[in-house]
């Protein structure tokens, strides 16, 4: 067992012991019952309510995340999620009756949701609270034993999870493992029944390769460059606000669903840039470094990465707003770049920071081919009043999710599946999708000893083949004959 607050080496041997213990708990049936699941969910809700201040402080410590953002994007969403699960779980756990085929009449068919077993959730740093608990809630609700591995890049939340979480949940079935590459590798050497990973594609490949050894299914929630297309036919003031809050109001651009870059027409770009500038000033003041409403860059490594994107030749010259930085404070000002070359790093890598490139095209429809020529993103946004353009966008742009006339809100609706496609990942979660993500849907077909047709058995005759043909095609008359035992002799 991990010693809380003590540095104990977590190697493959300890990982194996831990997994064996959890598997033992699972096999005993501890996590199966509705009562246990509800107890854990209620405990998590209680934890959020009682320790809100501790978590908010940790989030602030990691990223200087404004309290408002922590509340809005993390605490509230998880609280809402817990409440939803508590309300719906009984219903979700029930077997679902489905039509049985005429071919198997008389019979009944059900789909039963059962837990997978012992699952591993590897978490990321940018929404270290929400992105940690959301999949964990799903895994617990589905009746699994869970191990969480918080991100070492968000050390304050990782430490607080390791300390607080065990005080509320059943430690014989739910564990937190802190650490970095060494600990993650030790975990990945074990056999899991599912692995859920949020993060980047480089690490995702390592995880999926490790999972393949044990044929472990995975869900990968990755990122990508989420484009925002701005049609001149829009309400510019509102558009600017929704883009700014979606970009810089979400962890200062360090969010997988944050607008990554904008595409608009050459003629509209100047107005858009002006609107964004004035909105930025309205939100963050003339000196954004003084604003309390902007997160910081998570660490110096990412700071270095972002400055490299900005300082590339032909990019820095195209900065039309911002560009200031303060390495000590890990601060980069909200920055807008106009028409950076399409092959520059800022236009090919996921930015994950407060830099917003704008690419211009001749007409707004040209933006479609720009997006389609790139890897599929997690989200794609369009601002327009033109219904036809809206339809075309929704139908032809492939992305995890599409949002028209706003940004980032898709994560707040638990009835929508949240997940990527192509390079942005696979599998989805949120709401019932989380429950399903961590369940095995088992088909149960129940027959009696009646309805026996000798046609299925050898010795085979042409008669039998004809009968089978009709039966498989659902012929009622043949079914009746079959039920009567026709043909009576083989």
């Amino acid at each position: 067992m991990e010693e809380l607050g003590q540095k104990v080496s977590f190697d493959s041997k300890r990982a194996k012991e831990m997994v064996n213990e959890l598997r033992g708990s699972f096999e005993e049936g501890k996590t199966m019952g509705y009562e246990w699941r509800v107890e854990q969910l209620k405990a998590i809700l209680r934890m959020i309510n009682e320790r809100e201040a501790d978590f908010m402080a940790a989030l602030h410590s990691n990223l200087s995340k404004p309290y408002f953002e922590s509340f809005l994007h993390e605490i509230s969403l998880v609280r809402a999620s817990c409440s939803l699960f508590l309300k719906q779980l009984k219903h979700w756990m029930k077997p679902v009756k489905v039509p049985a085929a005429i071919t198997t009449y008389p019979s009944t068919a059900h789909i039963v949701s059962e837990p997978l077993g012992v699952v591993l959730v590897i978490l990321t740093w940018n929404y270290s609270f929400m992105l940690s608990l959301e999949p964990v809630i799903g895994a617990i609700a589905a009746g699994n034993a869970v191990v969480l591995k918080p991100s070492e890049v968000a050390p304050a939340t990782s430490a607080i999870f390791a300390k607080i979480f065990p005080e509320y949940v059943d430690n014989s079935c739910i564990r937190v493992v802190e650490g970095a590459i060494h600990e993650t590798t030790a975990l990945l050497e074990q056999r899991w029944d599912k692995i859920f990973y949020t993060g980047n594609s480089r690490v995702a490949k390592i995880i999926m390769t490790a999972a393949a050894k044990n044929l472990t299914p995975v869900i990968l929630e990755l990122g990508g460059k989420s484009p925002v297309v701005v049609d001149p036919d829009c309400d510019l003031k509102i558009v600017a606000k929704r883009i700014v809050v979606g970009k810089w109001g979400c962890n200062n651009g360090q969010a997988c669903v944050s607008p990554d870059y904008i595409i608009t027409t050459k003629s509209f770009a100047p107005q858009l840039v002006d609107a964004l500038k004035s909105t930025l000033e309205g939100f963050y003041g003339k000196d954004p470094q003084q604003s309390k409403d902007l997160s910081r860059i998570v660490n110096s490594e990412h700071f270095g990465r972002l400055t490299r994107l900005l300082d590339e030749d032909r990019v820095y010259d195209n900065v039309v707003h911002g560009g200031q930085r303060d390495e000590k404070q890990l601060f980069i000002a909200p920055t807008i770049v106009l028409d950076a070359p399409l092959d520059s790093l800022i236009m090919t890598e996921e930015i994950f920071g407060p830099l917003l490139p704008i690419t211009t095209v001749n007409k707004v429809e040209d933006s479609f081919s720009v997006i389609k020529s790139r890897p599929k993103p997690l989200s794609a946004y369009l601002f327009t009043k033109n219904k036809k353009l809206e339809e075309k966008f929704a139908m032809t742009i492939s992305a995890g999710g599409i949002l028209i006339n706003d940004t980032t809100l898709q994560v707040t609706n638990p009835d929508l599946p949240f997940g990527g496609v192509g390079e942005s990942g696979f599998g989805s979660y949120h709401g019932k999708f989380s429950f399903d993500a961590f369940s095995h849907k088992k088909g149960v077909l129940s027959r009696g000893f009646g309805g026996e047709t000798p046609a299925r058995y050898p010795p085979y005759t042409p008669w039998k083949q004809a009968l089978l043909r009709d039966l498989i095609n659902g012929s009622i008359i043949t079914l009746i004959l079959a039920l009567l035992g026709w043909p009576w002799r083989e």
Partner: protein, 479 residues
Amino acid sequence: MELVELEELLNEVRQTFKSGKTRCFSWRKRQLEGILEFLHDKEQDIFSALKQDLGKHKVEAFRDEVGILIKSVNYALSNLKKWMASQKVRMPWAFFPSSAEVLPEPLGVVLIFSSWNFPIGLALEPLIGAISAGNVMVLKTAELAPASSDLIANVLPLYLDNKAIKIIQGGQFVGEQLLDCKWDKIFFTGSERVGRIVMTKAAKHLTPVILELGGKCPAIVDTLSNLRDLKVAVRRIVGGKWGPCCGQACIGVDYLLVEDKFAPILIDLLKTTIKRFYVESDNISRIVNKQHFQRLCDLLNESSVRDSIAFGGSSDYETLKVEPTILVNPPLESLLMTEEIFGPLLPIITVKKIEDSIEFISKRPKPLAIYAFTKNEHLKQRIIAETSSGSITFNDTMVQYACDALPFGGVGLSGFGKYHGKFSFDAFSHGKAVLRRSFLIEFVCRYPPWNDMKLHFMRCLYRFDYIGLLLMWLGLKRE
């Protein structure tokens, strides 16, 4: 296949997908109808190919492959429009005015690996799903079933759009070349060992996979006092063991569990039923090739296994036929009892009481199917709750395969992902969330600069405390 050829082939299907042609309902319908025409026109050729590859009788071939495919295509044709439609999702009032839906879209270019035991069925069943979902695809046929492979590769293309659906023959080398390419999804039916290779290679491109593997599918046989019920049960067991490809089926019965006291009665009835069913040698398939034949002989020849043979046990290398064989309580650590048999050997394990079979099964890797013959409702509930498998069928074998409303797929070492019916459509689709908002109604409280009042507003909003929001707006509520 030359690498250059493969690249050209892939470019062609990618271009076809980009053109958008496969997204139309009419295209998908046409391809599905093409499959139906193939199955009707070439039925005799299909029977001949299966006879040549596996010695399958045409009734078995129809029952297990052709007939099932016809049913699946018709089911897809009847439901396709419904499946393709987007599903509306409710939005909270707080976001008014707004709307949300989940829109299914094709994944793109998918790779399908067929398997040799049902070389027509396991090739076309996933193809039906991939087509219904609007993808372009490459299907690699099973090289161990050469006649069926030739038929699919040379004749089926005459019925389908060759710019969108490519069929490739070949062995391991071709398989590996295909796996080195980038796909939007890979669907694999086959063994655990190869499943691992497929997933490892898919990981290089982060390609999602579906693995339909196997396992040791047990059949629990409770003591049945009614003779008629017992006879029906035995027919279904025999039919479910030796009927589908002579035991070479992923959901075929692998072994039986029965109470000590009941075992002799069961075994006697199994023997007489086997003799009655398989009086004609052509009513049972043969082993696919010499390698698998040898594998099965090795399973039988392991020490102490031979001693447990209660019926059958002989084999003929020339005809690749292995007799239906029953073994009683072979050693549990033998290969026969630890590896998937995939052949006509049926071990029977006796237990003191039938409930013990639950523990026996749950100590072992999760199988693709569990069968149980019983009228005891309590036992049924325990089996459902205390074991895990791809599926469970009570009082019959194999027939769950024909039920389109049930997901077909494994769990644990029997695989992951599912298909059949709408699950096939979903397996090859991406459910894209589409959320629409308007420019009316702005919540200024979302925007910085943030303050306590805005925070309080958002608290109310998240709790859907609309009264609180109204009062705040009217200036009547302060934090």
